[in-house]
Symmetry: D2
Subunit: 288 residues, 4 copies
Amino acid sequence: MSLDTQERFILRASCRDEVGIIAEVATFLAQRRLFIVETANFGDASSGAFFMRLVFAPDAPGFTLAKFTAEFTPIAEKWNMEWEVRDARARPNVLILVSQSDHCLNDLLYRQRIGALHMSVPAIVSNHLTCAWLAERHGIPYYHLPIDRGGKEATEARILELADTLKADLVVLARYMQILSSDMSEKLSGRCINIHHSFLPGFKGAKPYTQAFNRGVKIIGATAHYVTQDLDEGPIIAQAVEPTSHVDTPEVMAAKGRDTEARVLARAVKLHIEGRIFQNGARTVVFE
Amino acid sequence: MSLDTQERFILRASCRDEVGIIAEVATFLAQRRLFIVETANFGDASSGAFFMRLVFAPDAPGFTLAKFTAEFTPIAEKWNMEWEVRDARARPNVLILVSQSDHCLNDLLYRQRIGALHMSVPAIVSNHLTCAWLAERHGIPYYHLPIDRGGKEATEARILELADTLKADLVVLARYMQILSSDMSEKLSGRCINIHHSFLPGFKGAKPYTQAFNRGVKIIGATAHYVTQDLDEGPIIAQAVEPTSHVDTPEVMAAKGRDTEARVLARAVKLHIEGRIFQNGARTVVFE
Amino acid sequence: MSLDTQERFILRASCRDEVGIIAEVATFLAQRRLFIVETANFGDASSGAFFMRLVFAPDAPGFTLAKFTAEFTPIAEKWNMEWEVRDARARPNVLILVSQSDHCLNDLLYRQRIGALHMSVPAIVSNHLTCAWLAERHGIPYYHLPIDRGGKEATEARILELADTLKADLVVLARYMQILSSDMSEKLSGRCINIHHSFLPGFKGAKPYTQAFNRGVKIIGATAHYVTQDLDEGPIIAQAVEPTSHVDTPEVMAAKGRDTEARVLARAVKLHIEGRIFQNGARTVVFE
Amino acid sequence: MSLDTQERFILRASCRDEVGIIAEVATFLAQRRLFIVETANFGDASSGAFFMRLVFAPDAPGFTLAKFTAEFTPIAEKWNMEWEVRDARARPNVLILVSQSDHCLNDLLYRQRIGALHMSVPAIVSNHLTCAWLAERHGIPYYHLPIDRGGKEATEARILELADTLKADLVVLARYMQILSSDMSEKLSGRCINIHHSFLPGFKGAKPYTQAFNRGVKIIGATAHYVTQDLDEGPIIAQAVEPTSHVDTPEVMAAKGRDTEARVLARAVKLHIEGRIFQNGARTVVFE
């Protein structure tokens, strides 16, 4: 088969697992000459839930998302699916929040620049001025929203408003050292990713490297997770680790951890914007 | 859906990639109430080849492999598939060849015993007597076939005869330090796995740890691959690595390497007996 | 310099860090033509403690441990050292405790057999009969000490008596699923190593793989640590991890974890019997 | 002991291994109340060479490098040492060469900015204009030296002149896609580090990711090494790897490899500027 186009579309769906779902979806695509480029699915035996992600490329002219949506809706309704279809070429809007440490921000912006992260960054928000110059260099608006000025509630309202105005598909806490309120966590549910600088569930809360030092662990790590009302308890997306030893002070651990944090966060952001993650209760299904 | 059985069947197929294959196969399964438990597929854009592995469980009584085969054959012929279906509960016969180092053999037998490798070992073949006691302990026939007695040709003929008689689905060279002839490699094509104690393509041939020491590498590794006529050039299945440093002599490297070799070989054997590997020219497609 | 012998001795010492310790020890060795083969030391800036491990080889005849001890004692007293010297060729006695899972036991015995662990195993103790055959195969006495027969206190007394009688230098809990009493932990302080099947401090206590599954972590691990009165809180010696994903059930995680557990425990045992570990409060100094 | 200063000095020495070297050096330091903060040494049994690195802090006033040098020289001469002592607070001058891919350059500059790499970058040299803006952002002079303008010989002469004028302690080829002449390699011997985007000795030469794809390896890597006259054969400093699979095209491998390359190069540069590397024939001794 030959593709005269680089068009790619991502179809994501989840529903109760039954015999016949894949058959029906695949037949639907084949009838429209939509060539399946990638497919991944998972049936969770413990919950009975089914998750599916397909990437397809039209092998005939005339494809439109509107038509696809109209025609696929009856199938989705039959199986009671949560679903979406989108153009893989579109760049999701990612709003980045940061405090003073800029290693994650710097890494995300670098990857965005070279095309390793296919996204737009419409704004950077911070409770500090530290990273303003970095935003400026990349030509990205920088919103300085210190917590003391107007209080947490007002700041959060402003961030939510920005997310709304800028049509943020994702909010990334790139070492944003403020705990989101339950209300804000709720409103950003499923589209807000945080990087925690420990290998969760070890060392929740503040100063994880100091905790790690005191416990004398031999491996340190970082965890990217969706933000929920329970701090550091949200569904885990990605984790990575680094060896440490008795010679490492908490400061050295923190320095070692920077690379791991930046990489894990970038990986989680990439997985999210490519539609590879499904929430499955308190856990995630990740199609890598 | 409820499964009143633990029956599982593995369907493997490869053919030229086209629109509609997944639809047709999935529909075939759905019509027979064969519930898809696992699925993986890959279209190789560079060669146009398509690979598919499905695990399914009958959701209705009356399933037989014979009936499935008869009914699926027209589909397979239509798409010009290489294919097979098999009962996942069956234990493949794995013939193990070994020389003097027993770490891989010991590991394979341990995993077989605890059920981590779902296979039968009908015999162990060696050009030495070193591992005879280990075979005896596990109640496995041990064939001592030294090379000098009758020459390489006769020995190989005897091994092939054994593989034939014992209906070996796989022959594993678990540190068997003899180079197979082109003829034998050809005859075992696609069902003979070797473990090479280096990170191929680095350090082909003899004494890879001495080569690694002399080159001063900082990481050593092991490679499991299918055996082909070109020594150490067969399609790679799995690789793993271990850090090393200036303090490690070739002997220390070899000791470190033992774990890696045993793990990589066990992983390759597991992938093979679960039908997760496809040869794709000089490379492999591995559905993990 | 030429060594006409493979004699090797290990000198371990710890004390308060001061200017001049290394100079004095090294001079002591040089004056006796004791050639330093390996050296490692660490000054803990946070506590002021100093740790030193030296391996030396006599470059002249007439060396005896008794003479060394007599002559080194004044130096040790001057710096208020805790110290020991021992012959590296001696095999420490390692008493192994196990319950039903034999992957760690099997691995330790294998490594002992091929010389990768330079130790003697004078006995295996278990609260089950499951591993008796494995002990028998290796010609090692097996003590079946079920907990119900006489209660925990009597069992522990019997184990301590065995450790005493057999001059155990180390007691290894190789998946021994009984919690040691505070009293017993105290008596074996610094010479009892446990393997916990999670990446501590995550998932302490029972069923760590089920906990890991429920939390949805993307990496699982294992931790070898010295046993103390606080369960799963003893000084950590070694840790290792393995990736996991949404497809892995707790049973699959447990299967994946077996390799990691066996490797980490073997590493901790090796480090201990080679005198490479120092306890430093709740942490360890490990000279690898 | 209390240090009223953060002064730190690094002493590096190598010579033939003999009884008494450590004793003499440690005694020399103790007599001058130079507190040993870190120490590492290695005797290469295969060659008889000895390598030592010490970090010390003066515990009394009046220390000068000039005085130390004068007084230590007789010891160095006695043992026929190659040696140096330097102030750990000084920032080595690192001249960076780059072509078009800027991931390594960007990473080095980031680490330099946040203090993770304790160095100065007096200039960036390139045969392209691509990275000029990046240099400008960091306020670093950018020398555009295209090969065609004047030929390779003239370009190399200009680079060597720059290295000389700027007192470069190290020249880093951060994806500089020009092969240095034998003459230039010789002149920069021991102070020029290259990053090769493969796991050497696998895939030497051009397009290593395409080579890796064609060979079907399951792990890709990167290697930082000193530049010598033999291309891709210089002493290896650091290596790291990344898993790959059948779905990865050479382009995806290259994208995955970027992180690994940047990390490995940064690690090699850090090891070099902290004086942790010794060349030992065709290999390196690295005190991490």
